[in-house]
């Protein structure tokens, strides 16, 4: 690893700050602004109205963050369970109608979720799944699963069957082979897919609203009316909460992954050598 600080790194860091950091500063200022008029670079006066509303008002912010994270977590776990066997089959087996299976798996990326969710809503109504977290979780699977499958497929395609065959000859059963050989190799792909799945699930508004019918209140459900209704201060404050929630979720994923590698005795960036 190269540890000297090169000018390129400094430039990249500054660029990263301008692209990622500055919008947050603008959001923070806007959430605290009481009147921000051209040509003022900084708001003329500040107020905690927006933060007071979302943190201490009866705005149910914390409860909605809990609901958002719970749904994203369940969705991601279900995605992993579904995506690993699917990716396995897609990469390793040749079968008739494979293109069709792939097309169906990836269709939600291309077809707008709104189209599907109208039909899903009617069906879920009949099954009594609307207004429940279970229903929302099931509905979130459609926009998230394709990304998970995609990520795991890439991991699988760089894994040859030789190691597994070797383990099989040594007497390892399918579970052991999966746990000791396949899973460590898939983990970076699963982590990538899980990050996408968490982020996409957290940011769903329409699907959550229609299937949850207003009874499953996630953060976007509270946030959207303010953005479309044009209260920039509260919209900004909620957006910052949302960003914080997403970063927190991704960080915990990262920490969990690092812990796993530590336990395995493999350095997190040393894996993947085939």
């Amino acid at each position: 690893m190269n540890t000297t600080i090169s000018p390129l790194k400094i430039i990249l860091f500054l660029l990263g700050f301008v692209i990622i950091g500055l919008p947050f500063i603008a959001l923070l200022l806007s959430s605290l602004a009481a009147g921000w008029r051209w040509p003022d670079l900084i708001p003329a006066s500040f107020s905690f109205r927006a933060w007071d509303y979302i943190l201490f008002g009866s705005a149910r912010t914390w409860q909605s963050i809990g609901t958002s994270l719970l749904i994203a977590l369940i969705v991601t776990i279900v995605n992993v369970v579904l995506a690993v066997p699917a990716a396995n089959a897609l990469v390793r087996f040749q079968f008739r109608g494979k293109w069709l299976a792939e097309a169906i798996l990836f269709a939600p990326i291309i077809i707008p979720p709104f189209v599907a969710v109208m039909g899903i809503h009617l069906t879920f109504l009949r099954f009594g799944l609307t207004e429940t977290i279970l229903g929302v979780v099931l509905a979130h699977l459609s926009p998230t699963l394709p990304y998970m499958v995609r990520a795991v497929v890439i991991s699988y395609s760089t894994l040859s069957t030789e190691r597994e065959n070797q383990a099989r000859m040594l007497g390892a059963g399918p579970l052991l082979r999966f746990y000791y050989i396949v899973l460590p190799h898939l983990l970076p792909g699963i982590a990538a897919g899980a990050s996408l799945s968490i982020l996409i699930s957290l940011s769903q508004y329409l699907i959550t609203f229609i299937i949850g019918s207003g009874q499953v209140v996630t953060l976007p459900i509270l946030l959207f009316p303010f953005i479309s209704g044009g209260d920039p201060a509260i919209g900004s404050a909620y957006s910052l909460m949302f960003a914080g929630m997403a970063i927190l979720a991704l960080l915990s994923l990262d920490v969990a992954l690092k812990n796993y590698y530590k336990k395995k005795g493999v350095r997190s960036n040393g894996e993947g050598g085939e």
């Binding site: 602004a33 009481a34 009147g35 921000w36 008029r37 051209w38 006066s45 107020s47 109205r49 927006a50 509303y53 008002g57 009866s58 705005a59 109208m118 809503h121 009617l122 109504l125 009949r126 609307t130 207004e131 508004y205 609203f209 229609i210 019918s213 207003g214 009874q215 209140v217 459900i221 509270l222 959207f224 009316p225 303010f226 953005i227 479309s228 209704g229 044009g230 209260d231 920039p232 201060a233 509260i234």
Partner: protein, 415 residues
Amino acid sequence: MMIRKITAPVLLGLTMAACSAQSSEEAEREEENLLTADWQEITDKAEGQEVNMYMWGGNDNINRYLDDWVAPRLKEMHDIELSRVPVSDAQDFINQLLDEKTAGKTAGSMDIIWINGENFKAAKDNELLFGDFSGQLPNFNSYINPEAPEISHDFGEPVDGLEAPWGKAQFVFVHDEQKVGTPPKSMEELADWVEKNPGQFTYPALPDFTGSAFIRNVLYETTGGHEQYERPAAQIEDLESRLEPMWDYLNDIEPYLWRNGETYPESLSKLDQLYASGEVAMTMSYDPALAASEVLKGRFPESTRTFLLDAGTLSNTHFLSIPFNSSDKAGAMVAINEMMSPEAQTAKLSPENWGDLSALDLEKLSPEQQAAMNNVELGEATLPLEELENNRLPELSSDYIEILEKGWMENVAKE
């Protein structure tokens, strides 16, 4: 307030809505009962019920008024738990009710919905509403004049007791006193002002609700009054030529608008943002006290004022209704009744809480109640209630609104 186009999914739902919607006979009888029972019986039944109120949730003042003012009182007086469900567009829950009707869901979670105009018409046409309940509410009977046109009709559609009035809105122009010394008194004067101050005025692109209301005001003034449009649009044969002066007016001011009229703000909130950041000198609102509440928040400059035109401006009423499959209809009726009480309406009038005009007939209130309402500090940016009251024009029915929105695209936006 939030009225927008009902789009394709509704039409789809409409054709499918012919399916089953069976409810047990017992529940039906009980509902019949609510529409005829005496009030005491209804309040007894309402006790302990949980009422979900689905409403547009994009304003913290309105949300707080419900959460901190209305809900605790309902809990205390009637042991009713009011839970507000924020929605970004009223059309969303109408679509949802349509689906629920199609799927035959009889125990729905929506107990009160906040609607008017096109959303009410869609709900009424598809039989998504509970029934003729407003006549059961004591506060409706005591303080409302059911014959008044703005109560009996909602954007030209007969209300038939399916919804109860909650508040009134009126179109006003919002200006910065420091930039607009003497506000225009007519559309003609407005055009003069716009020409002399290029880039300082614009209106939201249609089909934005407020932008659409602005051109309806133009329509009334440039084509000789609103009376001629009381008939259905289809009955006026020379409608197109009658609308001609309005398109001419809009095209004449276009070169002097913000960005030379090459583009329009896509929504009122974008226009408000332009005004708040000082890019334009005027904005507009279908809520006469909204400017005052924006000044209180610090978003609009202190020098913000509102004005009307001498010929009057459009006004409408917004309503509360109960969906067909509400599970707590008695609770919903009691809650709506409380929200129509003089105390609740007076609190709602104050810009600190919300700044929404009262739905009640001032003359039916007791002298003390009248005084309480007149003493509400509306803020310098709001016009006196009397001035608003005396300059109200009725709304057009929705068939015209559609024609105007299409016409604007062809005659103004495209050229």
